[in-house]
């Protein structure tokens, strides 16, 4: 849930309830990076505690959630510093320049028509209940170029609003639209090839 932009909460307006509203988003953010329920929970707990203690520092300009994510990032960084483990998971702070930016054209022909393009998926809802589907989904998601994956995850997995994602990633509006669109085109194609058009999907449905 977005903090009402008009509510430029000064420190004394920060209530526990207000902070707790952001817990799910913070948890998803932490989970995707730490890949551990308990660690993620701890990081969020520490974040909310720190926010509560330093609520006087909150200026309300960038939005409560952006501020909280800023604190959470520090907690996550602390964790990586404390543990000797290498960072192997998605690091939202590591902005890569994707080499393959010119991939959109492959989806469409020069006249703007689909090149190939979406076939009909048979009963996609059923897939959500199948463990094998989630392995494929994860593969497809991991196959996105890093920057694109980051933008997609912040928006669709963590659940930030588009403008918050832009703030987090430093993307312009225009770049955001292009990036999200490419991510969806790629994911869609990957799921189609690796799951929905596989013979193991019981009833194959072809509309030429």
């Amino acid at each position: 849930m977005l903090l009402n932009p008009e509510a430029k909460a000064s420190g004394d307006q920060l209530t526990e309830t207000l902070l707790a509203e952001h817990r799910p988003v913070l948890f998803r953010y932490a989970l995707l990076q730490l890949r551990d329920n308990e660690l993620a929970d701890d990081a969020v707990q520490e974040t909310l505690l720190a926010a509560w203690q330093s609520s006087a520092n909150f200026e309300g300009k960038a939005g409560l959630r952006t501020w909280l994510i800023g604190i959470l990032k520090h907690k996550i960084a602390d964790h990586w510093r404390r543990s000797s483990r290498e960072v192997t998971t998605t690091d939202f702070d590591q902005i890569d320049n994707d080499a393959d930016e010119a991939d959109e054209d492959a989806f469409f022909m020069s006249n703007g028509h689909w090149n190939g393009g979406p076939t009909t998926w048979n009963d996609p809802e059923v897939a959500l209940k199948q463990l094998e589907f989630w392995a494929i989904y994860e593969t497809c998601q991991n196959n996105l170029p890093p920057k694109m994956a980051k933008v997609f995850m912040l928006r669709e997995l963590v659940g930030l609003e588009a403008e918050e994602v832009c703030r987090e990633t430093g993307l312009s509006d225009a770049n955001y639209w292009v990036t999200m669109h490419r991510a969806r085109l790629r994911l869609r194609e990957c799921l189609e090839i690796r799951w929905f058009n596989q013979p193991k999907a019981k009833k194959e449905n072809r509309h030429a």
Binding site: R28, R35, N37, P118, W121, L157, M180
Partner: protein, 66 residues
């Protein structure tokens, strides 16, 4: 008439912001006639749903295999 490339870009934007009535009509008319863009529309909604479920999935999986 707008191309599939343009229409899908609009469909995608529609998932992240409120489109104008004109834009929604443009999409509506196009997908009535174009099955691929219609598929794209429903499939991107499905992908959103899957993405929302993914973290739940991850949480469950991590919980079972610590």
């Amino acid at each position: 008439m707008r191309s599939c490339r343009d229409i899908t870009a609009l469909v995608s934007q529609g998932l992240d912001k409120q489109l104008s009535l004109g834009e929604r009509l443009t999409i509506g008319v196009h997908v009535m006639m174009c099955s691929r863009c219609r598929n794209f529309q429903s499939q991107t909604q499905f992908i959103r749903k899957a993405a929302h479920r993914y973290t739940e999935q991850l949480q469950n999986r991590l919980g079972k295999n610590p």
